[in-house]
């Protein structure tokens, strides 16, 4: 479980996160929704270990991974992050992306090839191994970013606006892929979006953020039936 307690993060005078508390279990999908600039991406970066909190702590499984004083390296946290811009390495082929991540998990050279193929087939990219990112379509690039993330065998997958650049058919495909990953790989998914439709299709639980705070957190159905305030109500009106 990822446990976040009283998390505060400031950038200069701007309070990006203001006492955030919540938890994410394995085998569940939590979607964080909120308007642009409310601190969603900062929260993901803190969980990933790319930023250090000013106050509060982050616990992953039984280990405290981040406090204001100590911060465990991202690669030791068993989380993977899929960036909004995907961050695919332009000089590497699809296979090389996966192979770069695989050796860190005790695989021998002989095991790497079949493991790479297996991961690529999980995301329907079999046969694309020798292509470069620029030779892939938008949806294929998205799947490569996810394949690279799951290659590191994370317990939690963090996704920053995964649907932002996809058309509706590709969104649907990606949604199915995520649900499949959750089911087959037993991975906890923490997804950030500003689109309430995407949140509705994916979430087990919803966290609504506003001004650096989580203003409501609970099951999708509960929040839809009991919006805490006008902001949540207006946000959810779009799906009802």
């Amino acid at each position: 479980m990822i446990m976040i307690k009283n998390l505060i993060k400031c950038f200069g005078d701007v309070k990006a996160l203001d006492v955030v508390n919540f938890e994410c279990k394995l085998d569940e999908i939590i979607v964080i929704v909120g308007s642009s600039g409310c601190g969603k991406t900062t929260l993901l970066r803190l969980i990933a270990g790319l930023e250090t909190p000013d106050e509060g702590e982050i616990q992953i499984e039984d280990m405290i991974v981040s406090t204001s004083r100590h911060c465990i390296e991202p690669r030791k946290r068993e989380v993977a992050l899929v960036f909004q811009d995907l961050a695919l390495w332009p000089h590497m082929t699809v296979k090389e992306h996966i192979k770069f991540v695989l050796p860190s998990h005790g695989l021998t050279k002989e095991d790497i090839q079949p493991a790479t193929e297996s991961i690529l087939s999980d995301v329907n990219l079999r046969g694309y191994g020798n292509r470069y990112p620029h030779e892939l379509s938008g949806g294929e690039q998205q799947r490569l970013a996810i394949a690279r993330a799951i290659a590191s065998k994370p317990k939690y997958l963090l996704l920053d606006e995964p649907f932002s650049s996809l058309d509706s058919i590709l969104k649907e495909n990606l949604l199915m892929l995520m649900l499949k990953l959750k089911k087959e790989k037993f991975i906890g998914l923490l997804c950030v979006t500003h689109n309430i439709d995407e949140a509705n299709g994916l979430a087990d639980r919803l966290a609504v953020m506003q001004g650096g705070r989580i203003i409501q957190f609970g099951s999708k159905e509960y929040i839809m039936n009991n919006p805490k305030n006008e902001f949540v109500s207006r946000l959810l009106k779009l799906i009802r």
């Binding site: 790319l50 991202p74 690669r75 961050a87 000089h91 690279r148 590191s152």
Partner: protein, 520 residues
């Protein structure tokens, strides 16, 4: 991705010993050795002789800067923003004058002087001549920085302007203000380089600070006087560096890619196309073509080249090895430093950044004296007595060029590409080796070649620290010039220019290839 504390400490120690120590020496030793009397000596800076030296140094630098702006600014706008015929090739050609050492420009114009005097144009021996030659040598700095600034301007801002203000008002009210920091930065760099240049004023017999520093040291063996003389120069240069750092803020000096295609360029039209083309070609002719033609004429028949080449093989090889080794080691130090500055949260990193620019403010001759005093000591004479001292000199002198190129590259690097690797890779070394270095290839190539080419033509630093019995190509050229062996000197200059042009072409093609691979 934070490097370990040991790594940061090690890099900063190497930087302090190789680059900062000679500079610290220059500032402190005159005071330590001179005691209370030093203040009186410093006040002597304001006596009439010293003031005349300061005046000519200032006028030379200011004149060269003004001319460089007059040449470099329109050139940059024409090749970067208009549909000028052959803008692609002119963009490349504009870099070459900077890579030809200034003393070679001076040698050529010195040769032309009798002709110019006979035609009643002017006597090149004087401030005006030195300004002209320095401007022809340094104007590419203004062009390169302005071009970089123009590449970084969001095209949509200009397009929005064109729709309401028209083309020329857009340039005046939108484009120019946006690239002003780059232009100012280019002007400051030219001013500093002209101020600390030794080669051109030495050949044109203009009394300026760098020449006086050299005379004090080599003719009167008065090292302290040389150091005291360099203080005002260094103070002015440091002040200007601070000014340009403030003006540039966090902007990027060297834009790795970008620019606009033929379709998005301003149309010059029939009336402007010809004069613009003639302006650019004339500038390139005076700063590159003329040098080659005159050197060819001075050198005479082919037999001179064969003779000079045979007798200079050792110097050519020696220069290539030293420049290659120096550029490689400078690259390693500059990469480590720029990585610390751009990608980590190390305390005082802006201070480290500014210190990395400081060698730009130090006259090469004064740096040579500082290097002698730091490294000519019992116990470490292995370095001073060997060619290693020249490599140390190259690192101390050319580190800023490498640093600026690499920090620009790191600033343009998408941080997510490194972060995602850091999250999943087994080791930091693997991230640097497989992700950071390949993504930085264009900057690494440029950085290496710039230092290599500048070191290959270096005269100022090498002149004082070259070990006995050794000679680099520029030193041999300098010696031949003073012995009056004009023909041989010209042939050797051409060989040096040929080598420089060969490696410039190599740089151009490898850089283009690397950019193509990364922008797929």
């Amino acid at each position: 991705m934070q490097p370990t504390r040991t790594f940061v400490t090690l890099v900063l120690c190497i930087f302090a010993v190789l680059v900062l120590a000679p500079m610290v020496y220059m500032f402190t030793v005159p005071f330590v050795e001179g005691g209370a009397g030093t203040i009186t000596e410093i006040m002597a800076i304001f006596d009439s002789r010293q003031l005349s030296l300061a005046r000519s140094s200032f006028f030379l630098a200011a004149g060269a800067t003004l001319l460089s702006l007059l040449f470099g600014l329109p050139f940059a706008f024409l090749v970067e923003r208009t549909d000028l015929i052959g803008w692609q090739i002119l963009q490349v050609l504009a870099v070459i004058p900077l890579l030809i050492p200034p003393y070679i420009h001076a040698i050529v114009w010195n040769y032309l002087n009798p002709l110019l005097t006979r035609w009643g144009v002017a006597d090149i021996h004087g401030l005006g001549g030195a300004m002209w030659v320095q401007a022809l040598s340094f104007f590419p700095i203004v062009t390169i920085l302005t071009t970089s600034g123009l590449k970084s301007v969001d095209r949509s801002l200009e397009e929005a302007g064109i729709m309401t203000l028209g083309r020329w008002n857009t340039i005046r009210k939108i484009t120019l203000p946006l690239v002003r920091p780059h232009i100012l930065s280019g002007a400051v760099f030219v001013f500093i380089f002209a101020l600390i240049d030794f080669g051109v004023p030495d050949i044109f017999r203009v009394k300026v600070y760098p020449v006086e520093i050299f005379i004090q040291f080599s003719a009167f063996y008065d090292e302290r006087a040389a150091m005291l003389l360099s203080l005002p120069l260094i103070c002015v240069a440091i002040f200007l560096l601070l000014l340009q750092k403030w003006s540039m803020s966090n902007r990027i000096y060297v834009q790795a890619s970008g620019g606009i295609s033929q379709a998005g360029r301003f149309r010059l039209g029939r009336r402007l196309q010809a004069p613009a083309f003639i302006f650019c070609c004339t500038l390139i002719f005076f700063s590159v073509g003329l040098q080659l033609v005159i050197l060819l004429k001075m050198a005479g028949p082919l037999s001179t080249y064969i003779q000079v080449f045979r007798s200079s093989c050792q110097q050519i090889f020696y220069s290539l090895v030293l420049a290659g080794g120096g550029a490689f080691l400078t690259l390693i130090l500059a990469f480590s430093l720029s990585y610390i500055v751009e990608q980590t949260n190390v305390w005082g990193k802006r201070g480290i950044e500014f210190c990395s620019y400081l060698p730009l403010a130090i006259p090469a001759v004064a740096l040579g004296i500082g290097l002698i005093r730091i490294w000519n000591r019992p116990g470490i004479d292995l370095i001073y007595g060997s060619s290693c001292i020249i490599i140390v000199g190259y690192i101390a002198h050319y580190l800023p060029f490498s640093f600026i190129t690499l920090s620009s590259g790191l600033k343009q690097l998408n941080s997510h590409l490194v972060e995602v690797a850091w999250m999943s890779s087994p080791s930091k070394i693997s991230v640097v080796k497989k992700i950071v270095l390949p993504l930085l290839t264009p900057s690494l190539i440029t950085s290496y070649f710039i230092v290599f080419l500048l070191a290959l033509g270096d005269l100022g630093t090498t002149l004082l620290i070259i070990p006995p019995g050794r000679e680099t190509l520029p030193i041999k050229i300098y010696n031949l010039m003073h012995y009056g062996a004009e023909q041989k000197m010209a042939a050797l200059c051409l060989i040096l220019v040929g080598i420089i042009l060969f490696f410039t072409a190599l740089l151009f093609f490898t850089y283009k290839r690397a950019i193509r691979q990364l922008s797929r």
